[in-house]
Symmetry: C2
Subunit: 299 residues, 2 copies
Amino acid sequence: MSLTVIGSTAIDSIETRSEKRADVLGGSATYASLSASFFSAVNLISVVGEDFPVKYIKIFRKHNINISGLEVKKGRTFRWKARYSPDFSSARTLKTELNVFTGFRPSIPDKLVPAKDLLLANIDPDLQSFIFDRIRPAGITACDTMNLWIKNSRAALLRLMKNIDIFLLNDAEARQISGEKDLSEAAKFIISRGCKAVVIKKGEHGVLLFSGKTRCALPAFLLESIKDPTGAGDSFAGGMIGFLSSRRKLSERVLRRSLAYGTIMASFAVERFSASALAKVSVEKIKQRYESFRELTYF
Amino acid sequence: MSLTVIGSTAIDSIETRSEKRADVLGGSATYASLSASFFSAVNLISVVGEDFPVKYIKIFRKHNINISGLEVKKGRTFRWKARYSPDFSSARTLKTELNVFTGFRPSIPDKLVPAKDLLLANIDPDLQSFIFDRIRPAGITACDTMNLWIKNSRAALLRLMKNIDIFLLNDAEARQISGEKDLSEAAKFIISRGCKAVVIKKGEHGVLLFSGKTRCALPAFLLESIKDPTGAGDSFAGGMIGFLSSRRKLSERVLRRSLAYGTIMASFAVERFSASALAKVSVEKIKQRYESFRELTYF
């Protein structure tokens, strides 16, 4: 019942069609670990600079996230500045400062090795591989990625795939990494590289799962409005893998339900600005939304 | 248990990334009536020219579609020539010949007035209104449309909406007609014009239904590959309204199931070229695919 999450911890500055927020809590590991914390005991491995506000550390603590693997390094925290298109279909990166992430290789606390389950949230595949080699999880290994790494570190990503049970990426990325136009073909390609399951996240259009003979398609949770799509995919991954990590047996039903929990956590993430959105969630609210999602999707 | 379908009957020439087919069976009323014929007794109201191949008439007959309202006029059948983008996300119209549809106002056989249920498949809203005024259905009135009419005949479409129970359109069209970016807001706008329910078709991304307090979201049926997306929306409308027309009571459950049947008929339509794809379908195949769709979507 413990899940180790590695990825970025960031300070984001975000512009949407209606709002502009500077220096808010972000990062793939932030969204993923907060999201997973509602289901499982989470160990966070990441790095922040000395400027990282202690109020954000308190959010991790409040969610019982083990931050013994969160290094504080001299320098500034990783920063990302972006502007979303009015319909949220694309984000334009205005600035990326790697800062303390430059060449970061974490020293992993002994008691986090080996981990039960491991979620390699979106970050440089070289760092993901480094962590995987050190931690050698006894349970599930899941991995998320993004277009940047597919473009710049494709070989490293393909090597890493052999060790991955559940590979998560979005529809454009699935097409990009496979060179296939049909998502079913893209999934086949990814599975041929050694992954046991592929999860293709389609944002507001839901999610597809391919694993052995299992195919699952779920729509997204229908929201009245979206405030900030940042971290939707990371929250999905955290909710999905957090839920899986809390189960003793990985039946097909459990796998399918994990997609619903991922969907729900993503919906909470985009309803408000920044990763602080997830700090407003409760187990009770997750249960309610799960019921609403059943109601939305039954036929 | 009878549904009157009005719309276009066409001869299409279609280019996709892999194939090119000339003079195949098309038209909104063709797809919709074939699709509906698996669920309900269908009366077709449309027009063809003298060049319309009798082999296509035989397809309607084979599906027990009442074609007493299908006029054969001197001249050529409505023709549409289009090329799809490699990923099927858009169609470029290469040529449209209205031919016998120019100024077409059907003489409706007396026994089709009043109809029980009426599906105004995609066609000029002026013609849709003309038909609605003549037929005055006792049951459901459903209406489908496209971007062209929203652009060129917006006022006529908005007037027509007051008489519509179920309005169907795709996501881009919902945004276009409402001026709203969020689909929930777009649906609110359409309902504010007098429709009881709005169905927003999202192609490969599934469908949304808004009606009173009911919200339903379903993914599309997952296909290995798509051959020709022509008529997907028309087939959806025909399957959905055909199923509704076959039921005595319109419960929420029936409305939700009708979306699943619409989804399934659309999936059959795009698996093969042209409206002839629907001629290969059987009640047995529909039942099987309905079960596969349940399996795809359960969690």
